[in-house]
Symmetry: C2
DNA sequence: ACTTTGATACTGTTATGACAGAAGACAAAA
DNA sequence: TTTTGTCTTCTGTCATAACAGTATCAAAGT
């Protein structure tokens, strides 16, 4: 191998992106995408709060171009909306939005359930049974301690992970990716629209996994559809109870930079 | 009204995007997106051919930035793939890709069929019946004239339009958008993988629409699933017959600019 | 004949800066 | 007190240009 190639390879290994210091690490737009998404999901930005491309670019130590690319992706996923010369903000979902998203979720996840019941191996079915039991247990713990805010976080995380496992074990990577980018929305809304969530049957997810683990694709489909519909009704009733505080205007609030300090105000996470 | 505003408004009306001549017209990235997509679907670029952001930018009369945004959207839809410092080209699907996409299509369109059978009005059902009959007739015409290349184009257009109508009348805009961005792939592959397509039952689409027009969502779901599966088998067998010419290397072909003149060489459109 | 080595012409990436538009701030006029 | 016009400062958009990586090809080495 030539010295030239050796030098280049060593250079790439040592991490030299552009000027000579910071490694580029899987592309800067991806880095920005993950960072922004993480901040949204953690509550750094509340629903409806304005975000500035320039400020984000400065915070992340890059230019506006990769940030804009990341924001574009988030906008296509529905987390963010942007008006040409006005601003960018976290999207506030209407009831129709939520219904639409649940329709898509029903289509995708029922398909994943069909594939799972056809293709999954014994080990995977067993893993899901255990996860479901664990999740049902977590729900009971949360009902016992209604004031512990961290439990909400834990339950939601476990819930999303269970569904993601099902879609992973369906064997279709494209389907899994679609489900993931679709479910991010629910994960976000769960936090912001959370009131006193209606209780869930004690064997809710265990029953679901049992139906999905059978070798009947139609039964798996029907069970997942019922599960998703139940979730939809709960989410919508919750949203109505919280109240339609969706201000559709674009007040950007000049003076205060939205929320630069660590915690969002209206959040309970 | 102030002179300042009058000047600005007049400026905007007369069409002044940046320097002073061309109107911006719904955003330049959208313009680029539509143009590139149109050129791909029309056969200006063959499967696997390399495309240059710079050349496209020059042809469209804009900078590389809006072109890159459009290409990013197309890449996320799966039409295009891009390697960081190497190039961009029209994606050549593998058999696994096609299977994955059909899985998603099955999920989305069967959901649309369910919603259609529940929600659609009488006028819409009748319109679809007519469209289906027309499409079935077109298929027969094509079988009678196997050498007319324009008939392939006509049939495919009518086919896609029928499916798009079903998803529109489902009443969910998000679902419709997803189906559209997903079906673009099939529309493109149809052209490039076309051999001697296996004949289709004479009442193929009329039967489908009849099943979907019934008031039984489960029957509508099953009918659409069977329809999509039939299409999948036909497409994959067709692809195998054409031969796996998927060169996974990135030969960009330095000298010749891919295909600058109007027609692609390996296309039969 | 085969391999290695530069040179070169391309690729996508991204920082910088200039631009048009929108909205709040604020003073002047009704 | 209310309305109106202007100014300032923010927003996203985008053209330009410099950067680093890669593939190709020709020539020199073996």
């Amino acid at each position: 191998m030539s010295y030239e190639k050796l030098r280049k390879r060593a250079n790439a290994m040592a991490g030299n992106p552009r000027n000579g210091t910071r490694p580029t690490l899987q592309g800067m737009p991806d880095q920005a995408y993950r960072a922004i998404r993480e901040q949204i999901l953690t509550g750094r930005f509340a629903l409806g709060s304005a975000i500035s491309r320039r400020r984000l670019a400065a915070e992340l130590g890059m230019s506006m171009i990769p940030v804009s690319e990341a924001i574009q992706r988030l906008a296509q996923e529905g987390l963010i909306e942007s008006k040409p010369q006005v601003g960018t903000r976290i999207r506030i979902p209407t009831e129709a939005d939520i219904r639409d998203r649940f329709i898509i979720r029903e289509a995708l996840e029922s398909q994943a359930a069909r594939l799972f019941s056809e293709r999954a191996g014994m080990a995977e079915r067993r893993e899901l049974r255990e996860r479901a039991a664990e999740l049902d247990g977590l729900y009971q713990v949360r009902y016992a301690n209604p004031d512990d805010a961290t439990l909400v976080f834990k339950v939601n995380t476990a819930h999303v992970q269970l569904h993601m496992r099902i879609s992973e074990y369906s064997g279709s990577v494209a389907l899994c990716q679609l489900i993931e980018s679709n479910d991010v929305l629910f994960y976000n809304w769960m936090f912001d629209l959370v009131g006193e969530q209606p209780p869930v049957p004690s064997q809710f997810h265990s029953d679901l996994v049992a139906a999905i683990s059978s070798t009947d694709p139609l039964g798996a489909d029907a069970a997942m559809r019922a599960h998703v519909r139940y979730n939809m009704e709960a989410t919508i009733q919750n949203m109505r109870k919280i109240g339609a505080q969706a201000e559709s205007s674009w007040r950007l609030g000049r003076g205060k930079p939205a929320n630069t300090n660590g915690q969002a105000l209206t959040h309970s996470r």
